[in-house]
Amino acid sequence: MKIAVCVKEVPDAGPGRRMDPGTMRLDRSGERSLNSYDLNAVEEALRLKEAAGEGEVVLVSMGQEKALESIRKALAMGADRAVLISDEGAAGSDLVATSYVLAKALEREAPQLVLFGQSAQDSDGAVLWASVAERLKLPMVSQISELEVAGGQITAKRQTEFGYDRIQSPLPAVLAVADSLNEPRYPSLKGIMGAKKKPQDVVKLADLGVEADRAGQAGSRTTVSALNPPPSRGDTVKIEDDGTGAQKIMAFLVERKFA
């Protein structure tokens, strides 16, 4: 079985993270790593391949060329190869453009399963998989906390706010996994030593037949008109601890009926 896993390199969380006022996009220049939720998707793909005793796990990503450094971690964990769509013309892609490009790349790969992480730690939309599935016209299940693949179909337990759904779907399908699904493995040293030698294709939009006006800013339907810091919450109360801090916090909470 051929499994594609969509992975994304994200800037490390922390105080250094900022929006670039010039491009009005996230500044992606600092320390970066693989989106940690995607490790759950990679782990699941590897387990499915190992259980089947055959198959291929292909990583698909759109990002800057240096994203390969982060993607290598998933190769070290055991994925077979990577396809990175990296193109100046893709910079500034919003959800509409990103999902279009990824769908094109996935069409070319034609996997039986497409796995996604639950969300990306930078933009945190938790929605890309739905748009990709829609473009591919494939069934889609999200928030998967248990997964079984057998007899050409999947059975998934889907976490919801009210309990669980049990969903069956034929293959091919698009799946977004929850981080409770598994515990991602550490890449072994052997995996690390071999990762760089695994095939890593960096492709351009044209290679995938993506028209210039369907990607990047041109292909995006979102316009950022201005950047402003979040408005301050008017009702903030600052309590200096002079020994009575705890009581003051309690009083504050009781007054607002939180305690």
Binding site: E69, A76, Y186, P187, L189, K190, I192, M193
Partner: protein, 381 residues
């Protein structure tokens, strides 16, 4: 532009992996292991699975076939989290399994290496005795020929992994008339009759590493237990221990760095006389000195590792690295405690452990005095 201080991408990735592993899998065990003086032996198979016990061993025995520099990165990241646990891992991989790979017969390698590298069995090595340490040639344990094999009699002291080893490399005289040269090395299985662990030693630091006293009393081993099938292998073994000195250079620098990181953070947060400690010149300069010494220690240690990995002579540099890093760790951890004031003396804060752990560096595997002896000999003195 040949001089390079860059690690390869693989080495950087390994560092990240070991860091993550140590934070998630080792750190939670440290407090308990230190308090009860018990090495968490269950981590060995996990390390084995990740290839971390076989970094420098060839693939045919389940190793990775990487170099000493790569191994040092592993040691460094482990030691930042727990020196004691690292010591036990090093004694197993560097000092027990490695000499078997270097000098063992094919049968010995087959028998011990794959399982050692997988972390399924634990190794120890025993040179030191109650009455001799630095003067290794002065050891009293002897092995006499009997029934085609040998009978070992003697006592060994301060043996890392002594209580939990499955096999132990034991240095013993086969030829008493030949001081030093007459010492041979035996691989003795733990279940051999006459091999007793008589005492587990309670220690000041490195408490998560087991250290024991061993007794060999009419302990009969077959001829196949003789390392490399040759008598008199001790000299070669001692030379092989160079790899351990290089590791120590990196390990001690790592303990120092852990202490420095804690002290730096503390100095930024703790206030006295209305400002953070880090604003006092006496403290800032001390931290600057600490960082400088750590940098120098690491550079020397990695230079020794580079020489070793390149197959170049490095007796002098390995001893310098072990010696210098040990002294740096001793000083840096002491000052880190000082910067913490009273809290530095309290077990809740990790610096007191770093301080106790660092002290071992100038004692074990050749004291600082013995390293200076080797260095001066290398200097033609």
């Amino acid at each position: 532009m040949a001089l390079s201080y860059e690690f390869t991408e693989e080495q950087e990735d390994l560092r990240e992996m070991v860091r993550e592993f140590a934070q998630a899998e080792i750190l939670p065990l440290v407090e308990e292991a230190e308090r009860h003086e018990k090495f968490p032996v269950e981590i060995l198979p996990k390390l084995g699975e990740l290839g971390l016990l076989g970094i420098v061993f060839p693939e045919e025995y389940g190793g990775i076939g990487a170099d000493k520099i790569t191994e040092c990165i592993f040691v460094e990241e482990m030691a930042k989290v727990c020196a004691g646990i690292t010591a036990s891992v090093n004694a197993h991989a560097d000092l027990a399994a490695f000499p078997i790979y270097k000098f063992g017969t094919d049968e010995q390698k087959e028998r011990y290496l794959p399982r050692s590298i997988a972390g399924e069995i634990v190794g120890a090595y025993a040179i030191t005795e109650p009455n001799t340490g630095s003067d290794a040639a002065g050891l009293a344990t002897r092995a006499e020929k009997k029934n085609g094999g040998y009978v070992i009699n003697g006592r060994k002291n301060f043996i890392t992994n002594g209580t939990l080893c499955d096999y132990c490399l034991v240095a013993a005289y086969t030829d008493r008339s030949n001081r030093g040269e007459g010492i041979s090395v035996f691989i003795v299985d733990r279940n051999t009759p006459g091999f007793e662990v008589t005492r587990k030693l309670e220690k000041m630091g490195h408490r998560s590493s087991d250290t024991a006293e061993l007794v060999f009393e009419d302990c009969e081993v077959p001829a196949e237990a003789l390392l490399g099938g040759k008598e008199g292998a001790f000299g070669a073994l001692m030379e092989a221990l160079i790899t351990g000195r290089v590791s120590h250079g990196v390990k001690s620098a790592a303990i120092a760095e852990a202490a420095f990181d804690a002290a730096r953070q503390y100095a930024l947060e703790r206030e006295a006389f209305g400002r953070p400690l880090a604003k006092f010149q006496a403290i800032r300069f001390k931290l600057a000195q600490m960082a400088t010494k750590i940098e120098a220690a690491k550079s020397l240690a990695y230079k020794a590792a580079w020489l070793y990995a390149s197959g170049k002579p490095c007796v002098k540099e390995a001893s310098m690295a072990k010696y210098f890093s040990a002294e740096v760790a001793d000083w840096v951890t002491r000052e880190a405690v000082q910067i913490h004031g009273g809290y530095g003396y309290i077990v809740e804060y990790p610096v007191e452990r770093y301080y106790r752990d660092a002290k071992l560096a100038s004692i074990t595997e050749g004291t600082s005095e013995i390293q200076q002896l080797i260095i001066s000999r290398e200097l033609g003195l």
